[in-house]
């Protein structure tokens, strides 16, 4: 860093530092997904849940999200279904 850099960019972050921070976050996230893979039955569970819900409500495939989260020694099965506007209900 030169003498004049102190005036030019003293509070501008170096892009290499930004890159490192972004990588640390995304790599940690992807590693945890890799090390705690979701169980095999999840896609089928999602499909069957969707079929049941569809008996009553019109729901698009992408509006149902099923995933399992591990927190310490217990697991949480999270099912998230976004219901459509009222006119689409059966």
């Amino acid at each position: 860093m030169s003498f004049f850099d102190y005036f030019r960019s003293s509070h501008q972050r170096k892009t290499a530092d930004v890159a490192k921070e972004r990588l640390q976050i995304i790599v940690a996230h992807e590693r945890s997904k890799r090390n705690n893979p979701q169980p095999d039955y999840l896609p089928l569970l999602q499909k069957e849940l969707l079929e049941v819900v569809r008996k009553y409500v019109v729901v698009e495939d992408e509006h149902i999200k099923v995933h399992i989260e591990k927190d310490g020694d217990y697991e949480v099965l999270e099912v998230n279904i976004a219901l459509p506007e009222t006119e689409n209900r059966r």
């Binding site: 170096k14 990588l23 890799r34």
Partner: protein, 269 residues
Amino acid sequence: MAKIVVIASGKGGVGKTTTSAAVATGLAMRGHKTVVIDFDIGLRNLDLIMGCERRVVYDFVNVINGESNLNQALIKDKRIEELFILPASQTRDKEALTQEGVEIVLTELKQRFDFIVCDSPAGIEHGAIMAMYFADEAIIVTNPEVSSVRDSDRIIGMLASKTYRAEHNMTPIKEHLLITRYAPKRVNSGEMLSAEDVQEILAIPLLGVIPESTSVLQASNAGIPVTLDKESDAGQAYLDVVARFLGENRPHRFMTSFKKNFLTRLFGN
């Protein structure tokens, strides 16, 4: 005992083939019987980098399919004793590499060579998995750039799960990080990830750093592995890498830029 070494990266264009050619040549220069195999079926390029493209008659897939024997497909390097190239097929689709076929060829090569260097294709598909599947050691080629680092991490994950050693609960593949296209000057000015940063993120031992160098393109233009250009910085860096890979202790070079004089320190570059 023969060692199978995969050169992998995930991302394309980071220097896998350059590294495969340079490391295989370096190992042979040190007197080890070495074969370098192109696993990039359909996009053969190792032959060009090694300068033997006009001598390809039979290839890896021909051997797997029993259309030729190994001796007919292996190309002996004309410059270095003990160095052989097994080219990829240019015409087949990559599914032609069956796991059984690859295993049979590698088993036969293990009887004859000290090192089997596998040049992996880019990506995480079948070809890349076949290149890493039977490996004992892996050199992960990474550029100091976000997408390359992230893809390298994916490959490190696959080495730990999708390989023979992983599936059979054996000692894990020994991993080495090789950072290529490194520009110390840009690292100093904070516009490029440093080798330490990349190593910290990927958390595998650093085998070496290859500086960004005009000699790499010149070597590939001429079909000469850059290790044979002993005058060049990249060639010397690869020779260091080979020495470290063989267990020697060599200090890292080419990681710092030249000392700045008073005026550049005052006014910047």
